[in-house]
Amino acid sequence: MENRDIKVGKEIEKCNEKNRTCADIANERKDMIFNLVMKAGEILLHNGAEIFRVEETMEIIARAYGVNEVYVYAISNGLFLTINVDGNFFSTKIKQVPIETVHLGRVAEVNNLSRDIVAGKYTMEEAMKELDRIAAMPFVPDLWRIFCAGIGSAAFCYLLGGSPFDSFVSFLSGFLLYIFIIYAEKRRFPKVLKIVFGSAGVTLISILMFHFGLGNSLDHIIIGSIITLVPGVALTTSIRDFFNGDYLSGTIHLVDTLLVATSISVGVSVMLKVWNMFL
């Protein structure tokens, strides 16, 4: 141990004669790899990739840049990355990644990038730039999102047994719901409030339209219009995580599902109760 310390000390002394020390260069390289791998993982996790894909991609990128010892532990809302770049010391970074919107376009791009990195098409700097570009990829324009939410609501209302007339009403209320959701996202409402208010509002709209003779079945209209909020995919993902042995991720997704579902039901049932009280 002492011998090695002396040896390292001599090497550092040697490097000190130049402007930059060996340690500096090693540190820069380490930082770069760290940031690159972490950023790739963060984009993937943040935008809805599966846990195993996040871990695999991070390891692949690190190995492509010559790091042999890399350990990744990913859970639904956080990343732990340990890397040994210089052959002596391990370093660890931890990053919290909130569960938020899904942007599968970004997942696809990072996937392509990692394939190109393995093929040797990117230097670290270029890869970092590319990742910055991917992280800034825009969402679909708001108007289109609102319109698609309407179409989705109408289609689901029909699939779940509503009549075409109900679907039409669902289209309107789903459309209005997403206008509110986008407004709430811009104002950075807390998730629970956004969903409670959104589902209460959409219930009120549906009741009003139903009251004025639009639609045949209020139940189908409401379920159609809130379907864009319902966490069906999160529940399925959670169970897939359990099957894969990622118990922690599964639990996190399950809790998220329950929270969202409860918020929706609170919104809908409170609004129905209030309406019944006054009429």
């Binding site: 809805g48 990739a49 599966e50 894909r53 899904v102 942007h103 599968l104 376009g105 970004r106 997942v107 696809a108 996937n111 392509n112 394939r115 990829m137 969402f139 679909v140 289109w144 999102r145 698609c148 939410a149 179409i151 989705g152 109408a154 289609a155 689901f156 029909y158 699939l159 779940l160 379920i223 809130i226 379907i227 864009t228 319902v230 966490p231 069906g232 995919v233 529940l235 399925t236 959670s238 169970i239 897939r240 359990f242 099957f243 599902t257 329950l258 579902a261 409860t262 929706i264 039901s265 609170v266 809908v268 049932s269």
Partner: protein, 147 residues
């Protein structure tokens, strides 16, 4: 029969609109839609024959996952893109909502019934996906050679 065709069209649009909300690249909308439609087709078919929601969902998710893996290999994209959008019609979103809704209206027996069904559907989907994911990747390569 006619209603089935309309249902399939509706499932196509449902899938595409969710693909949109998930920011799937525009080129893939059609393939996402097809994935969702195939899933819903198998679901309807088996549900009419067997009238068991869980079993129909299981087979439908197997079919749908096979299709999305084929698309993923052919179009060199992560399978998630086709899977998440395509699975949407099958996913027990309404079930989750009804379960919590009945809890709030104190209709506990209905809530338990819906809850058990929701969990079984989710289990069936997850199991179906897992069944297809254990098939080795090379089995899905034949489509690519043909192109």
């Amino acid at each position: 029969m006619a209603s089935m065709v309309i249902q399939l069209i509706a499932s196509f649009f449902a899938t595409v609109s969710f693909a949109f909300l998930f920011n799937v690249p525009k080129k893939e909308f059609f393939y996402c839609g097809i994935t969702g439609t195939i899933g819903w087709f198998f679901y309807l078919l088996l549900y009419n024959f067997l009238s068991s929601v869980v079993f129909a969902t299981l087979i439908a998710s197997v079919a749908l996952t096979i299709v999305s893996r084929l698309f993923a290999v052919n179009r060199k994209l992560p399978v998630t893109i086709f899977l998440i959008s395509g699975i949407f019609p099958l996913v027990p979103g309404a079930g989750i909502y009804y379960t919590t809704y009945y809890i709030f209206t104190h209709e506990i027996s209905l809530a338990v019934e819906k809850g058990v069904q929701t969990i079984s559907i989710a289990l069936a989907i997850a199991f179906g996906i897992m069944l297809v994911f254990v098939i080795p990747q090379r089995c899905f390569l034949w489509g690519r050679r043909q192109r």
